[in-house]
Symmetry: D2
Subunit: 358 residues, 4 copies
Amino acid sequence: MLKVAVIGATGAVGQEFVVALNKHKWFELRQIAASERSAGKKYVDAIRDPNSGILRWHNREEVPEYVRNMIVSKVQDIKPENFDLIFTALESDDAQTIEPKFAKSTPVISTAAAFRYENDVPILIPGINDNHAELLNVQRKNRGWKGFIAPLPNCTTTGMAITLKPIQDKFGIEKVFMTSMQALSGAGRSPGVIALDIMDNVIPYIPKEEEKVQVETKKILGTMNAGTIKSTSFKVSCTCTRVPVLDGHTETVFVETKSATEAEDVKKEMLKFSKNVTIKGLPTAPKDYIIVHDDPTRPQPRIDREINDGMTTVVGRLRKDTAFDNGVKYVLLSHNEKMGSAKGAVLLAELLKDRNIL
Amino acid sequence: MLKVAVIGATGAVGQEFVVALNKHKWFELRQIAASERSAGKKYVDAIRDPNSGILRWHNREEVPEYVRNMIVSKVQDIKPENFDLIFTALESDDAQTIEPKFAKSTPVISTAAAFRYENDVPILIPGINDNHAELLNVQRKNRGWKGFIAPLPNCTTTGMAITLKPIQDKFGIEKVFMTSMQALSGAGRSPGVIALDIMDNVIPYIPKEEEKVQVETKKILGTMNAGTIKSTSFKVSCTCTRVPVLDGHTETVFVETKSATEAEDVKKEMLKFSKNVTIKGLPTAPKDYIIVHDDPTRPQPRIDREINDGMTTVVGRLRKDTAFDNGVKYVLLSHNEKMGSAKGAVLLAELLKDRNIL
Amino acid sequence: MLKVAVIGATGAVGQEFVVALNKHKWFELRQIAASERSAGKKYVDAIRDPNSGILRWHNREEVPEYVRNMIVSKVQDIKPENFDLIFTALESDDAQTIEPKFAKSTPVISTAAAFRYENDVPILIPGINDNHAELLNVQRKNRGWKGFIAPLPNCTTTGMAITLKPIQDKFGIEKVFMTSMQALSGAGRSPGVIALDIMDNVIPYIPKEEEKVQVETKKILGTMNAGTIKSTSFKVSCTCTRVPVLDGHTETVFVETKSATEAEDVKKEMLKFSKNVTIKGLPTAPKDYIIVHDDPTRPQPRIDREINDGMTTVVGRLRKDTAFDNGVKYVLLSHNEKMGSAKGAVLLAELLKDRNIL
Amino acid sequence: MLKVAVIGATGAVGQEFVVALNKHKWFELRQIAASERSAGKKYVDAIRDPNSGILRWHNREEVPEYVRNMIVSKVQDIKPENFDLIFTALESDDAQTIEPKFAKSTPVISTAAAFRYENDVPILIPGINDNHAELLNVQRKNRGWKGFIAPLPNCTTTGMAITLKPIQDKFGIEKVFMTSMQALSGAGRSPGVIALDIMDNVIPYIPKEEEKVQVETKKILGTMNAGTIKSTSFKVSCTCTRVPVLDGHTETVFVETKSATEAEDVKKEMLKFSKNVTIKGLPTAPKDYIIVHDDPTRPQPRIDREINDGMTTVVGRLRKDTAFDNGVKYVLLSHNEKMGSAKGAVLLAELLKDRNIL
């Protein structure tokens, strides 16, 4: 059993970590840390809003027994050398200063954006760009660390990169236009989206989101060569919006391919990719990596987000595009807090351990 | 005063007609008709749901006094020759058979799709393609009618066509990708979207909607020449979704232009177009035809839909596109039941009267 | 295995029946029936809305494999003598004529109101008034039927009657005031609550609901004596409202007791009752019959409705009342489609079989 | 023109003050103050959320022109002697220390709870207990202040007290049971209700709310005598909940009266009271003080909250109670931020000026 800590354990993403690590076969959660406000409290008290008295717990499962009475530590009281692995769910500013301290001694798997865009840092999606993981060794050497920082992509990038990968491999990609309709639970910063802002409404803007998705997608689908990642040359353009949905990011995608393609062929490639994906057999891996619906009314976030416990990317409305000479369009759904965040991070940890990088 | 009738007066669009015609300067609503179920009842009773007892009235204003006790007629009891103009808010199947009967004697302005795609039928948006109105005379001649059928576009087409027009005129257009997040009140067929289907959800499909928007946009922005409309040659690709918003269709638009352009230039063109739009001074014309927000969090449907009583197309997030060499992207909001439907139809009637076509 | 049929299998309640009977230990679902519109179709096609194309399926679980391709029969094609038991989920008008035909040969467990108020018909809640079941024999004799009609209460009655029972037994009851905040899925009649009616809203009225709850509660908690049920003498007053919640009826209850009582004592009685409830061990019986929360922010419908798969009545905010000399007030949550409807009906069937009444 | 200041001008209630004072006939808003975070900013910048970039403005009207660029002061920079009247919209803790400082020189009308329960402080609802205003003179003398503190009741108290008053006057009251379904905008503390907490949910608890409503109602409807208020002797019991509604508190009320009464009589008394209410003619007074609907589906918050610009208490479902020997039950709706808060405070100021108490 590897000894792990979760930093930022009280927020929405941190809560998913706590659930994902419950009775985990390989990882034992030994310590949790969060902000000053929470430190010293029992976990179950730290996640209760002091004004309304409401337990800020957003999982379908109850707070797991094993963590209810665990005392929340201050971040600065974490001794990284005590752990084999540290998961972080921090705001980017905090991650910027805290993660390198941990990485000196210990591998860090992070959901924050702070290091994603550095040259010796891969952005890993298990099953999509596993070979980029070798950059972690470059990073170790570069920085003189025993550990490393391995960030996940933004939760809005994940589903898109996963569905583009089989298209890129078979048909090549020229351009991608994506519009996201993002769920409330994806709004990182505490306290989250205010009900008065979003009920009966759409917010057409999420600060910095589009730039992240555009850059990350190209890096993830780029090529690893001689110790560097070269981003793909295709173009990506996004508009990211927030909608009144609890969980699950819905995205409409328009893809121009290099070679001619029919929707049916793309479906086949997606399913083939899903069937042969590298992560099969890892503890957190889903039965289906990608599902493609023929029912045009799917995916729907409320209906489809919990399929395979939120680890499957669900595709629907796959059809020939009407504006590109070669291209398809489709709608995808990805659970922003499961595959797109904490559970995806745990899956990454499993992959790295399986490959002896951890 | 022109004598007018409204057919389909009890539905969501019909209700907007009844409000738009309240105390109208030029039009007097003399008769209302609806389905068998409603016929013979007072208007205010006909719009009450028999099961729940709820008044199905979706306007911020109360049911106007003048129409509360008006008796709803059967459609077949309407004598078209008694009217100078008939507004119809019918399902497409019904429109197919009913509208031609009326048009023999009387001009019909329709919100239905039934005749939009016929060669001698223009799809008119006041201020955008007024010159297409001359096709109505061709239609009269062709069909031997004293009246005509003048359909509005689908409510999802309206805002997009309005915002594309100044871009087309100045920069030329190559391709358009659009994703809509459509409001509940836009679902035409009675009884509308079921709460259990849409709460905490997005429905990624609206039957036939995308095809309509794609074809209509090109026809509206096409050229009138020698008695026919030639659709524009640019390509349009849409994905239409339903979101839990009461009123107001939000659309994200990515436009490839023929010539290089900056967002700032497009903004200028939109505002110039708005300022000089042909419909200024008509009773139902808004103060602003297009508003362009610099605030990146706008437009929001709940906040912006009622601006200028729902007759303004609100644009925001106008910025250079990152995937097209030449192009911009933006978000727009259009009130699907006001400018996009009944009030847009009344505005069209005003235009046609002003040009002596009515 | 008893052979069972479900009548009204396509509606919200019918869907819960289909789920509750999936792999049931004692009951085998052999035939399903629904309205003309659905008859002859596969189940999975019959529950799809023809206009929007949306699958009208409101369960967290997928449509069970065993029923997906089962052909929906017409109600009149059901031969009751082929079944050991028939579950019905019908509108009251239909139940009025259909259920007696079935009951001639076969026991009927019904979610409809049609027969609830007749003298020889008990309204049964398993665990609350099991002894009323003997009235079914009276009914058989009276009516010359081999079967019987055993209706469940209205879904709003269930949670209230369950929580009042231990209070009544120990402290006696004088008066009850209840306000319900009912979920969307409880609106029986197709197609259910329209999104435009309920979003950002409360509907303060549900036709006939309050009368049902008032009468049923008194009958359920009445005494069985010499072949008749005498309703309790305490007074009940309700106001029933609809709120924008998918599932789970929340109710605020104010109870005047005969003897002095503290909230702590009522809690003890509820928990003792829950522990000793008669239905323990039946296949569909929950681990907890009643849960009492000390956390004042519970119960919440979204958080608590699925506890023990929707079969537990969840109580919170139990405190001394401030207007009655003797009394308490509390909030309860009951899953309107599980314990309050189809799954409660299956539990009742299990009880009746266990007692050899089936 | 009286010179006024608004303290706490950036919050939801403060925003209503700013709207209510726009172009006011008698009051000129000269200065606005808010927390440190906002001080020094233009009003329109101070109300923008720094994380999401969203303008936190919750009024149907745009931010009034006159206040957009007004600079927000620190509270401690307010010189009370410069004003004829100060409106405060503060958290109770802050009100406790700030309001007495202001009151030394200047009348304060407050929406905070801090002083409501003190002996020499009336809780005033214009039109209901105007005579309690004389206690303000007692207060002045007691405390040696030139000004005074005149708090409004909690927004949940207002509608109930208004509707109970005509019942109390004519029939006498023994007991009241009330359940509230409160809107999101009524949650005072910044930042308000989190969308993840309330979507598809009901929160059955609002800290301290019930105690406030119970005590305040009895004080407001109490008798003024020899310089003190004696609370009424009737009993009040409440359960207060939060529902996913933007604005407008819905309350179900069960009233036991001293004398026998029919619903029809209560309706008459309410309408008579409304017609003769003392506040007629004041600038902010509504056309109707109370409206009583016969339509059982009313009041609905989304439909009825803006009637008479949110200053009318809307009653429906008025009927004989079924548990009390003498009594009625009904549903009421009161706009929590208009009559129940800022606009009610402005109406109170108008009344006090009209009576020469200001």
